[in-house]
Symmetry: C2
Subunit: 336 residues, 2 copies
DNA sequence: GCAATTTACGCAAGCGCTTGCGAAAACTTG
DNA sequence: CAAGTTTTCGCAAGCGCTTGCGTAAATTGC
C-alpha cells in the first residue's frame, strides 16, 4: 500500500492539514514543524496522490497538448518547446495524438472537461468547430490554438502568418525568374489553407503575374499525396516551373516524384518547401523552406494558456508570428 | 460549474450509487432505471470527473509512455502503435518526453507512483537503474521496457535483437566484399549498445575478419555527432570501407559528412543505417537499413502491460523481436 | 506582567466518485 | 398464497487530499 498524507501526519504527530500545508509551502506552519514534516516525508519517499490533490484543489498542474499529426517534425519541435516552458512553470504536459481524427480530438477534450488537466493546447488540425465551441462555453475556455484558425475569434491563438510566408516565397521565386508558380496546400475546407492561398494571390498580383487556378492544388499531408500530385500536375494543361509546397510530408513526396520523373531541381522545377527541419535539409537538393518559428510558437502558446488558467482571463488573444524564408539550392535559378 | 453524479442522481430521482452503476454498466440496476439515467446523463452532457473516479476506483485507464527521445522517427512509430492498441482496449496514453534526462524520467515515474496512471511503458533510454528499481518494488511493477536492457531481468520487456540485426548487417557487407567494417553505436554504458557490439564481434569472427577495436565508435544520437565521428574516423589510423550506424540521427550526420568530404556512397564507403523511416529512405543514396519491427514492439508492449495491470502478474516476461535488413543502394558494392 | 496581536496548529467538511452491505420490492415456486 | 429467491436500489463509508475557521500558544507592546 502506498504511503499517504495521513501516515505522515501520524508519524510526525501533527494533523493532516499541517502536513498538507508544510508540503505545499503554505503559510501557517512553524519552521520547526515544517522541517520535521519534510524530513519524514522524504525519508518515507512520500508521493502525494495527484488524483486526490487534483480533486480537492481543482487543479492538476497538467496540461494537454493535442496534436493533429505526430509525423510532422515541426509539430514535434513545437511540442518540445511547450514542454520546456511548462517544465519551468511546474506544469507537466500530456501529449495526445489525434491523427487528424476529429472524434479523437473530442475524446481528448474530455480530459479538460473531466478536470484531468488544467488546460489544453491544440496544435494544427482543421477547425471542426462544433465540439470545440461547445467545450469552450461549457468550460471557461482554457484552450489555446496553435496554427489553427477558428471561425469566430473565440479562442486565444498563436498563429504563423502563412499568408505572409507564402507571399515572401512567391516574391523570391519571381526574383529568381520563375513565372509559373504552383501552390500545393492542404484541404481547402481548412481556413488556414485559405490563408496560404490568399498570400499566394496577393503576391502574384503584386508581381504582375497571372493567377491560374489550375496551379493551386490541395492534398493530404503525406508522402504519397505529394508524389501523386506531381503525377497529376505533369499531365495537366499548364505545367509550372516552380512549386511552393506548404506541408512537410507532401513536400517530400513531391520532390521524390520530380526526381523519379527524371526532372531536376531547380533546373526543371524550383521547389520551396515548408519547415526548417532535418527532412527538408537532408533531401537532395537541400530545400529552400519557409521556416516556422517553432520555438516561439510553443513558448507563447504555453504562456497564453497559463494566463488563461491563472488569471482567469476570459478575453481571447491572438499572436501572429512570421515565418522566415531560408534560401537553399532548390529555388536558385541557374539562369540568373 | 461542472455537472456531477449527484446532479444526475437528483434529476433521475435515484441514489448516486445507482447512477454510478448505470453509467459503468455494472449489474444491479433495472433496465428501466438504467435507460432513464443514461438518457438524462446524455442530455446534460455529463462527464464523469476522472480524478474522482480514479481516486475511488484506484484505476485511471491511462498509461504513461515515457520516451527517451522524440526526434527519433522509429520511436514515434512505436508510440503510435501503442496508442492504437491502447485505444482499442479503452486506455488512453499520456506521452512523456525525457530528452534522455534521467531526472525527468524519475519525475515522470511519479505519475505511476502517485496513481495518475495505471502503468508505464519506457521506450529506449539508458538503464539508470536505481530509481527504476526502487519504483519497481515500491509499486508492483506495472512497467514495461521497450528496447532497453535492464541489469537484472526484473522488468517485463520487449526488445529488438540488435545483436542479431548487426550480425546480419555485417554478413551482408561481407558478401558485398567490404572488409573493414566500422560500427557506430551509442554510449557504451548502455547495455543495449554492448549487445550491438557483441553481434558485430560474432559476425566478424564467423566471417573470418579481424576485429579492430579502433573501428568501434560511440557517439550521441544526433546529427552533429554523426558528422563529427566521420571527421574523426578519416583522420584515424585505420580507415574503414563500410559503416554500420545504429542510430537514426547519427546516421544522417554521418552520411552528410561523407558526402561533404567529397566521398561517395557506396563507392568509397558503404553505409548500413538504422530504422526504415522517411529519413533514411529520403537521403541520397537511399540507405540500407536494419528495420525495427516498430508496430510489433508497440503492440506487444501494451499487451504485456495490460496483462501486468489486470491479471496482477508479477512474473516478468521478455519478448525479443528480430530486425529485418532492408537492402538499398548504400551498401551494394559496385565491384561485385 | 497583562491585554492585544500575531502565529501555529487541529477540526471537520468536502472534492466527485465507487462499492459493500442491507432492506425493500419484484419475482418465483409448490 | 406464503415462503423462499432474486433483483433493484439506497445508505454510508471511504479514496487521499485541501482549506476555512476556530482555538491555543507564542509574541508583542506598554
Amino acid at each position: 500500500m502506498q504511503i499517504t498524507l495521513k501516515d505522515i501526519a501520524r508519524m510526525a504527530d501533527v494533523a493532516e492539514s499541517t502536513v498538507s500545508r508544510a508540503l505545499n509551502d503554505k503559510p501557517g506552519v512553524g519552521r520547526e514543524t515544517k522541517l520535521k514534516i519534510l524530513k519524514i516525508a522524504k525519508e518515507n519517499n512520500y508521493r502525494p496522490n495527484q488524483l486526490a490533490r487534483g480533486l480537492a484543489a481543482k487543479k492538476t498542474n497538467m496540461i494537454a497538448v493535442i496534436l493533429a499529426e505526430m509525423d510532422s517534425p515541426g509539430n514535434i519541435e513545437i511540442v518540445k518547446s511547450i514542454e520546456k516552458a511548462a517544465d519551468e512553470k511546474g506544469y507537466q504536459i500530456i501529449l495526445c495524438n489525434t491523427n487528424n481524427q476529429e472524434d479523437k480530438e473530442e475524446s481528448y477534450l474530455s480530459l479538460l472537461e473531466s478536470n484531468q488537466v488544467d488546460g489544453a493546447i491544440f496544435i494544427g488540425g482543421k477547425l471542426v468547430g462544433s465540439h470545440l465551441l461547445r467545450a469552450s462555453f461549457s468550460q471557461d475556455n482554457r484552450i489555446v490554438l496553435v496554427n489553427r484558425l477558428a471561425e469566430e475569434n473565440f479562442f486565444t491563438s498563436v498563429l504563423t502568418d502563412y499568408s505572409q510566408g507564402i507571399y515572401q516565397a512567391v516574391e523570391h521565386l519571381v526574383e529568381e525568374n520563375f513565372k509559373k508558380i504552383a501552390l500545393v496546400c492542404g484541404s481547402r475546407d481548412d481556413l488556414i489553407e485559405e490563408e496560404k492561398i490568399s498570400g499566394y494571390k496577393n503576391a502574384l498580383r503584386d508581381s504582375g503575374l497571372d493567377l491560374n487556378q489550375e496551379l493551386i492544388f490541395s492534398t493530404a499531408n503525406d508522402r504519397q499525396a505529394g508524389y501523386n500530385v506531381f503525377l497529376e500536375i505533369i499531365e495537366g494543361d499548364v505545367i509550372p516551373d516552380a512549386f511552393i509546397s506548404t506541408r512537410e510530408l507532401t513536400t517530400i513526396g513531391l520532390v521524390e516524384a520530380i526526381k523519379m520523373g527524371g526532372y531536376f531541381i531547380p533546373d526543371d522545377f524550383a521547389v520551396v518547401g515548408y519547415g526548417d527541419n532535418i527532412l527538408t535539409s537532408v533531401i537532395d537538393p537541400p530545400l529552400t523552406v519557409l521556416s516556422e518559428p517553432v520555438e516561439e510558437l510553443g513558448k507563447s502558446s504555453l504562456e497564453f494558456l497559463l494566463k488563461l488558467i491563472n488569471d482567469n482571463l476570459d478575453s481571447q488573444q491572438i499572436k501572429v508570428l512570421t515565418p522566415e524564408l531560408i534560401i537553399r539550392e532548390s529555388s536558385i535559378s541557374k539562369y540568373n
